[in-house]
Assembly symmetry: C2
Homo-oligomer: 416 residues x 2
């Protein structure tokens, strides 16, 4: 599918994150106004709640599913409704549409620069996976040695653990450096202190748009995924190292997980589908992909010290994943685990083969042994107070891009 | 506090789970009727939703917090409202109250035998801990040998992991034996098959009644806990053994967690408070208990094969815990993790020092090596299809008991 031109000029630039091909879903407010559902196009946000109330564009003829500060009720409607809505909105925003329609859209939209963005959906539960082979190999090498880097189950299972939905925040939310129980290898006893190894994890988050209450196939799982966000799973590595045996990460991952504010739909990403890599071990049937279910999405991380310019510390791609979100979701349901609309599945940290492809500071600084030098001359092993971390991503089309916007967080000093 | 007599005779028996001292909160329906909030007393359920609508007993003068199929909105009101409501209800049900009040209660109540019980609260998120020292020692010995039984962090941290709220079901819900990825020690490759080591875990669940968004003390945590239920965390041990490294249990624990239908309030359990045991290692300050925060609650598990009589396979007590729910909750918030009304915290399997005190079949059969002989003559290592497991608990007062009712599940064969 080629580039689709909009009558809204700002949507037509080659570097615009939000061309007509994208139409990602978010939640916004202006001034003291209510939270409303919106769709990004160029430098504006179309007020989807307003269009629905005015009867100009309805997802459901009988219910005001967008009269809510989240897209969950819209997602409940299912794939046919998602497609119809996207097609109708695309038609209204396409170049050449009647001026009456254009005027209505202008009335029911706001400049993005004037809006505050909120969580785009109500997070039901949050699961975080561990499905980048380079990341698992790097971390395993540091924690357990090169011989035991990849756990024996890793090539067979999209390994994951349940995270904490209550800690998911939208881009821009300040992150307070957490305290935690910490015991270094040379310490006699643990202590309770601010994390000294506070880190990021560059991930893609998949949003479940349809509920299920039984094991589903990878093909069904793919159909149930509504869209994606960029996700930063803040991690206290010193807390994690002491707490994670035998039941996995817990408080090390519970401070905050930041997501980008726009849900980029699976529909918008359709032209960018790509396959997971060749299998190192054959998969069990329930995990076999019937077609390409990853996406080619370029990802990067910038780090800006307080008042300083940004250094690009990581560039990688979602196509590095060993398991797709569809495989992760199918595995998630394999026990009969019920999934709900609004469940969020983190891909796991996305690292590539080269050093600059690593999606966490733990890997970039090799556990703090190889500090990074920023463009400002400062060095970093982990995140310092007042650092701002920006995660970005986009799929590159011919003359356009499907952008995710930014996933931003600035770290505040630990509370006293 | 001594026994409180009710004008409702059925509430006054020594073995009644629901005397006036208890007044646990549940959700019920009769026939095709709506789900309503109810309070158990003797052999009846007081229709709390109906009393509120009639203006006879209101928790909030301005809002119908009980006009809902869950107690979450009531919990939101906070401790003062909880106390006032309990005091008012106690007065209405106490021996000697005016007959007009008695008549009103009879009108706004139903026989328990005619009601269907539902989940008493909307589960926000579910966390499961691992805080019984006997259980952790038993499991650790089986999985890692006697020398490494207790992980190095165990005496310092209430170890826990996030579970899956969507899988929490009310007592009586049939449980389908799950499939999962399984690889035994002698197997060349994993296979996808029904779990052959399906198990129970006898736990107490604490229900969070007040939200928090910062680290809270153990004393604050104690105040934020609304009440307790009996909890059975169904566990597929063969799935768990293969999947749990390095990120902890995932699909092994995602099929179902059954809870008893009545929330026994912290207020009702107040006379039964008891201390955690002496510390084997000093705790960090943020985990120190300012007073007794466990409860003396006798617990037991019965197993009935299809059509057979019940064998009591376990008797233990909640006072065996090494960490209380208040300590667990304080630790849960230590990273800044936000907690919400309706969060459910499982204590972890509760085992005592003797063999018959073990709260899981994994321990009772020592990993399948020492089969149990049931009273019917049948043997069991793990749960067989069509077995019914009943978990019960009560605090024993002088001439009365604070009962939890039953937490029941019957296992169905795996689906094809």
């Amino acid at each position: 599918m080629g580039f689709c031109r909009s009558w809204l000029d700002s949507a037509n630039g080659r570097d615009c994150d939000f061309p007509l091909n994208n139409l990602p879903y978010g939640v916004f407010s202006v001034g003291d106004g209510d939270l409303r559902c919106g769709v990004a196009i160029g430098d504006r946000i179309v007020d989807a709640t307003g269009l629905e109330a005015a009867g100009l564009l309805r997802a459901d003829p009988d219910a005001d599913v967008l009269d809510a500060p989240y897209w969950n009720d819209f997602m409940e409607l299912g794939r046919n409704a998602w497609s119809r809505y996207r097609a109708a909105l695309t038609a209204m925003l396409a170049d050449g549409v009647d001026e009456v329609v254009q005027d209505a859209i202008i009335i029911h939209s706001v400049p993005m620069a004037e809006a505050v963005l909120h969580l785009p959906f109500r997070v039901s539960e949050f699961t975080d996976f561990y499905s980048s082979r380079h990341h698992a190999t790097n971390v395993g090498t540091m924690f357990r040695g090169a011989e035991n880097a990849l756990p024996p189950n890793w090539l067979h299972i999209p390994i994951g653990y349940n995270g904490r939905a209550s800690s998911v925040v939208v881009s821009g939310t300040p992150i307070t450096r957490p305290h935690g129980q910490i015991k270094g290898p040379g310490d006699d006893a643990p202590r309770f202190a601010p994390s000294a190894r506070f880190d990021i994890e560059l991930e893609l988050g998949a949003i479940i748009g349809q509920a299920s209450d039984r094991p589903i196939s990878v093909a069904e799982a793919f159909e149930n995924i509504f869209g994606y966000v960029i996700l930063n799973d803040w991690s206290a590595r010193d807390v994690q190292a002491w707490e994670y045996q035998p039941l996995g990460p817990f408080q090390a991952k519970a401070t905050a997980t930041t997501i980008s504010p726009w849900i980029v739909t699976a529909a918008a990403l359709e032209p960018f589908r790509t396959s997971t890599p060749a299998r190192a071990e054959p998969l069990l049937d329930y995990l076999n992909e019937p077609g390409p279910m990853l996406y080619d999405i370029a990802l990067e991380v910038g780090l800006s010290p307080d008042g300083g310019t940004e250094t690009l510390i990581c560039q990688t791609n979602y196509n590095e994943m060993y398991f797709s979100a569809a495989q992760q979701l199918a595995h998630h349901t394999s026990s009969g685990c019920p999934m709900r609309v609004g469940d969020l599945l983190g891909s796991g940290t996305i690292s590539g083969p080269e050093k600059h492809n690593r999606g966490s500071l733990l890997e970039l600084s090799w556990g703090g042994k190889e500090p990074l030098t920023l463009d400002t001359g400062e060095i970093r092993c982990f995140v310092e107070d007042r650092d701002t971390l920006v995660l970005r991503g986009h799929a590159q089309g011919d003359g356009y891009r499907i952008g995710f916007g930014s996933c931003v967080g600035t770290v505040r000093p630990a509370s006293q």
